[in-house]
Amino acid sequence: MNKPLSRRNFLKYMAAGTAAVAPSAALLTACNPSAKGAAGVSPTGNSAKAMTMRHNPNTGDNVSLLGYGMMRLPQLPEGTPEDPETGPFDQEMINRQVDYAIEHGVNYFDTSPVYCRGLSERCTGIALKRHPRDKYFIATKLSNFDNSLWGLEASQKMFENSLHELQTDYIDYLLLHSTGGGGRDPETGEQLSGLDVCQRRFIDNGLTDWLVEQKQKGRIRNLGFSWHGDYRAFELLLRLHDEGRYHWDFVQIELNYLDWFYANEINGANVDAVKLYGELEKRGIPAVIMEPLLGGRLASVSDNVAAELKQRDPDATIASWAFRFAGSPTGVLTVLSGMTYMEHLVENVQTYSPLQPITEEDHEFLMHIAEEIFGLKEVPCTGCEYCMPCPYGIDIPGIFAHYNRCIKEGYVSQSERDPHYAEARRAFLVGYDRSVPRLRQASHCIGCNQCTSHCPQQIRIPKELQRIDAYVESLRQYQAGRI
């Protein structure tokens, strides 16, 4: 992969974005005056409080940059009896949050027949029904994962049921859900690749053709897909687009500052977001972004990463960096966030009202943060031992050498979903104890900084040691009691 080129691309996307933001923001302020100074959140020097909107070239929709993901709906307090209709979900709170969102310019609501024990569509429908239908866009999915639903009829039923639950007669954005996921043959039980499953769920059974028909009938306004997993499925669907067989109005991908370059390193099955986004950008297909926070990981970072982010902008929340990053490329139609709590909603609305696109320096900075989070960064220690002896007995070059060796040998893995995580974890921890006695490991570094001035490589030794220690701690805590 070619980083400088990719960065240039990123900046190119952004430059156009900045230009596009201003007029649409003004437009929205005009038509939605209630957005000003709402919810008692005191805005800090941010008077233009309108949500950034993005334009969908296919239907002309003006879509809010913040999309509401309805997969982590608020639940009733524990012990409260379940509602016969909405189960354990707190419909009152959902309504309040949806009201707040709509009031503040959010108009994209993303759900699926499988979210929230299958109740998300119903809850979303109830909340949205209370607003005029032209004020918002509904996105839902064909979540026919189970191999008993691979037939055309079952999937059609699923679509019809979505309309019923959502209490509407058309879907604004319909997605083939999670193309690229694997599965088993319903008859033989044989394991199938993501590509095969995609074929069988959506293409071979004529489902997509049927959906195109529905689109022509006006029951679907935009047809797209979301993708995880087998990259060949992504390629297949784009090839069908290129060949003119289907037209994708939008595609939903995972994008965040960690996945931008490191998705593949985190999990061998993933593809870097920069590549995915590039493919869509090339074709002019708007991108809907999921996992802007990488499952919350980019909102709860280690203390030293948090400190670095705060140092750069003390007023910005940790999560806002991730949202700004995900929203900056102009080909992004909307960024989905599964906001369970009102605080998250208020915060994210603020981040995008309006979006302050990532600058070139910001981008560089976030890539550095990504490296730090991912731990990909080797420590440029040459083992000269000028720093030694550490008065507190730490084996500084020993720790760095072990860490660098593990990076090189592929034993540094941040994702527990990585199939080799357990193996890498064991190799790292066992090797750590072998090469550095416990008493001399990074956990004993007190950060007195007496070593730093001795280092010819200008390594900020205590900082690096604490970063490694935080990583070791995450490994140790992974599985109780086992090394």
């Binding site: 550490c390 008065p391 001399r440 950060g447 900084n449 992974y478 109780a480 009691g481 086992r482």
Partner: protein, 511 residues
């Protein structure tokens, strides 16, 4: 014949599995064989594990004391030792009948129950058979096992794989080690000489089960018509419970080994339901004459314990000094002094143990948690009343947030099972700061290692002199949030005494 064929393989499987449980350090054994510890009678009673207790009582009432021959590791160990005796394999046998020492048995049992109720854990721990075995396995066998493992680890390091890793082998408590060794010698000698002497005179569990098996449905009994009084059965009886002259078998002492059945050439012994016989023997089991009997010799008197403890600490101190010398000076590495445990007003007990009292009343000192603790935190206590019951200290490691191993293996409910989430909210003690040792004040350097590693964020670094710019930062502990895990104490750079240490709580709280 069938009895032995069933008993021996079953007993060996149980014995090997329980032994593995006590020597293993990886948690694998606890995963597969942990339930065997929970099957032990006394632990099950203490844990109020009704299902197990009822099952064992019913088992004994129906088939007799098979428990003592299969499930109890101490019983099986004695069988193995007896079997090693050159005459153990001899067909002729080497045992003789001896009358029941009922008075001794019941005195020990009464004392045992009194100690149990009064919370004199050390006495209970001395007599409880499973605990005795656990102590032997963890103190005598585990070091050997670990040495073997460390050998493998060095091989695996040389060949560049990660299959085995080395672990520290250290003396957790000398008094407990000595007690384990002495108990082993006494029981081994008794077993060598007289088979199940221990089980039928001292063991409180044996006495209780014997009281039940006296009425067991199935039992060994004589067919007096067929018996030729050859005495072969009595000579084969490890429990010395067959009175061949009177044609009686003392069911309260018989552990159902089945050796006698194999020995009888005349088919005069049967394992069945005696009530079905037409000729029910009218005589009730012989009321054994009370003899002065064996000394309860495996209990060193209290004063000796104290002496052993003093010797223990002296020895520990000298080994610590030795370790200091052993630290290799690679030129580039500063020497690190070993940590010394602070004097804690209240000992720390593991999360899940609810309170010092609950712990003392339920723990039988089997050492399973101590043997399993992967962080070298648990070690047997040296307190008089709680001798051998585990206590916590943080010189070698701290009670890590992800680990709940001790609570998951404890068979007696002394450490109740807790989850990872519970653990972070159970307050077993609180951290106390010691100004005189704190590095920012003594060495004038920045530190904050305690605050950095506190898993619950209970420590904040504050300026020592708030008004002065650039004042050294010292830790401020929010006691109400501290859970007492000891991360701060263990990772504190001050040596040998940490500048922050944990003081135990008698009653655990949820924060």
């Amino acid at each position: 014949m069938i009895l032995r064929k069933i008993r021996i393989p079953l007993a060996l499987v149980c014995f090997v599995a329980i032994t593995w449980l006590f020597v293993d350090f990886t948690g694998t054994a606890a995963h597969y064989a942990g339930w065997l510890a929970k099957l032990q009678l006394l632990p099950a009673v203490l844990a109020l594990n009704l299902a197990v207790v009822v099952a064992l009582v019913l088992l004994t009432l129906i088939v007799g004391r098979i428990y003592c021959s299969v499930i109890c590791p101490l019983g099986v160990m004695q069988d193995i030792i007896a079997h090693l005796h050159p005459r153990g394999k001899n067909k002729a046998g080497r045992y003789t009948f001896s009358p029941e020492r009922r008075w001794l048995r019941w005195t020990v049992l009464v004392l045992f129950v009194v100690a149990l109720v009064a919370g004199i854990g050390s006495f209970v721990a001395l007599l409880a058979p499973y605990s005795s075995y656990g102590r032997m396995a963890s103190n005598l066998l585990q070091p050997i096992w670990l040495t073997g493992n460390n050998w493998l680890a060095s091989f695996s390091e040389q060949s560049g794989n990660y299959d085995h890793y080395a672990v520290d082998i250290w003396m957790r408590s000398l008094p407990t080690f000595i007690i384990a060794a002495v108990t082993f010698i006494i029981i081994a000698v008794l077993a060598w000489r007289g088979g199940r002497t221990y089980c039928n005179t001292i063991c409180p569990v044996g006495t209780v089960l014997g009281a039940l098996s006296r009425f067991s449905l199935l039992r060994i009994n004589f067919d007096a018509d067929k018996c030729r009084s050859c005495s072969k059965c009595a000579r084969a009886c490890k429990a010395s419970c067959i009175d061949y002259k009177n044609h009686t078998v003392d069911a309260s002492r018989c552990v159902l080994c089945g050796n006698c059945l194999d020995q009888c050439s005349f088919d005069a012994l049967k394992y069945d339901i005696p009530r079905l016989h037409k000729l029910a023997t009218a005589t009730p089991p012989a009321a054994g004459s009370v003899a002065g009997g064996l000394p309860a010799g495996n209990t060193p008197p209290a004063s000796e314990e104290r002496r052993a403890f003093l010797i223990g600490t002296a020895l520990a101190a000298s080994t610590a000094a030795l370790a200091d010398v052993k630290v290799k000076m690679d030129g580039g590495l500063a020497e690190i002094e070993d940590k010394v445990a602070p004097k804690r007003q209240t000992p720390i007990t593991p999360p899940g143990s609810l309170s010092a009292r609950h712990f003392a009343q339920h723990c039988t000192g089997c050492q399973l948690c101590v043997a399993q603790c992967p962080n070298d935190v648990l070690r047997p206590s040296t307190g008089l009343l709680t001798l051998m019951q585990p206590t916590m200290s943080y010189e070698r490691g701290y009670c890590r947030p992800e680990c709940t191993r001790c609570s998951s293996v404890c068979p007696t409910g002394a450490i109740r099972p807790i989850g990872r989430d519970d653990k972070s909210s159970i307050q077993i003690g609180h951290a106390v700061w010691v100004r005189d040792n704190c590095i920012p004040l003594t060495d004038g350097v920045a530190c904050g290692n305690c605050a950095r590693h506190c898993p619950v964020g209970a420590i904040t670094m504050v300026p020592a002199e708030p008004d002065k710019e650039g004042s050294p930062m010292i830790p401020a502990v929010n006691e109400s949030r501290c859970i007492g895990c000891g991360a701060c104490e263990n990772l504190c750079p001050a040596r040998p005494f940490s500048a922050i240490y944990v003081e135990g709580h008698e009653v655990h709280k949820t924060v």
